[in-house]
């Protein structure tokens, strides 16, 4: 039970990338499922509050970084009476293998859930090298 509670808790991070962020907001690690199908690896991340315009995915070398920007919740003439979650930005980075076809990575956002499909690359075909006699 105790473990379960721990699991549910939101993790806060200062960003797994070792740089200081320019935006002065809290950053959370989105909870992510990763599964493998026959021809792709699919990454599903819960990022409530983001849409397709506020998510950024970058691939640099072997690191796939997901960043989501959430505008703070404020309501005019209202004060907070009860509070269980704090909204903030999202950031998480994954190391991906060389087996992924980088050109064909696809991503979509629906109802606060980000889905990234990383297709597997065609296996490198064995090449026969003929040796010329000379």
């Amino acid at each position: 039970m105790a473990d379960e509670k721990k699991e549910l808790q939101r993790k806060e991070t200062r960003g797994s990338v070792e740089t200081e962020r320019t935006r002065n907001r809290r950053v959370y690690v989105p909870k992510t499922d990763i599964y493998e199908t026959k021809d792709a690896i699919v990454l599903v991340a819960d990022m409530p509050g983001v849409d397709e315009k506020s998510v950024d995915i970058t691939l640099e070398k072997n690191v796939l970084t997901i960043t989501g920007v959430v505008e703070p919740e404020t309501y005019k003439d209202h004060s907070i009476a009860y509070y269980e979650y704090d909204s903030g930005d999202y950031q998480r980075a994954f190391t991906i293998s060389d087996e992924v076809d980088r050109e064909k990575i696809e991503a979509s956002v629906s109802q606060g859930v980000l889905r990234v499909t990383l297709p597997k690359a065609e296996p490198v075909k064995a090449k026969k090298i003929s040796i010329k006699t000379g």
């Binding site: 549910l8 002065n24 026959k38 819960d46 004060s79 907070i80 269980e84 109802q111 859930v113």
Partner: protein, 147 residues
Amino acid sequence: MFGPRFWRFWRMIDLGAEMQRLQSEMNRLFSGYIPAHGHEFPAINVWVGKADAIVTAELPGIDPKKIDISVVADTLTLSGSREKDVLKEGETYHRQERSYGSYTRTLQIPFEVDVSKVDAKYEKGVLRITLPRSEEVKPKKISIKSE
């Protein structure tokens, strides 16, 4: 309370915004509203204004038709379930962190709600329910009869 975030702000250039955030965090702390992170699903925030209360809940990836909202007098009940992605044969999970299952949350609003005017919106995985104050809950004067 004086975690790394507190000390870190000295290094920030953007002091104004940080101070403001710190102040609002302090206000929250001292007003007794300490976040009860993660003990219940979904996490809920409640905002109260003169005319209404706004309840927000983080419910990413749910079909809005399957969110059940009911209001009785001053009690709001939110229920539904979050379906697990069904994997086909040969597909395997590498990592599974998102939670699934059914949920029910019951919440008492500080006043009686005009049930007919309750409005709910679901956007970007965040549910927002506006609960207007009922006209009938104005203070009533009770006269004492003498015999």
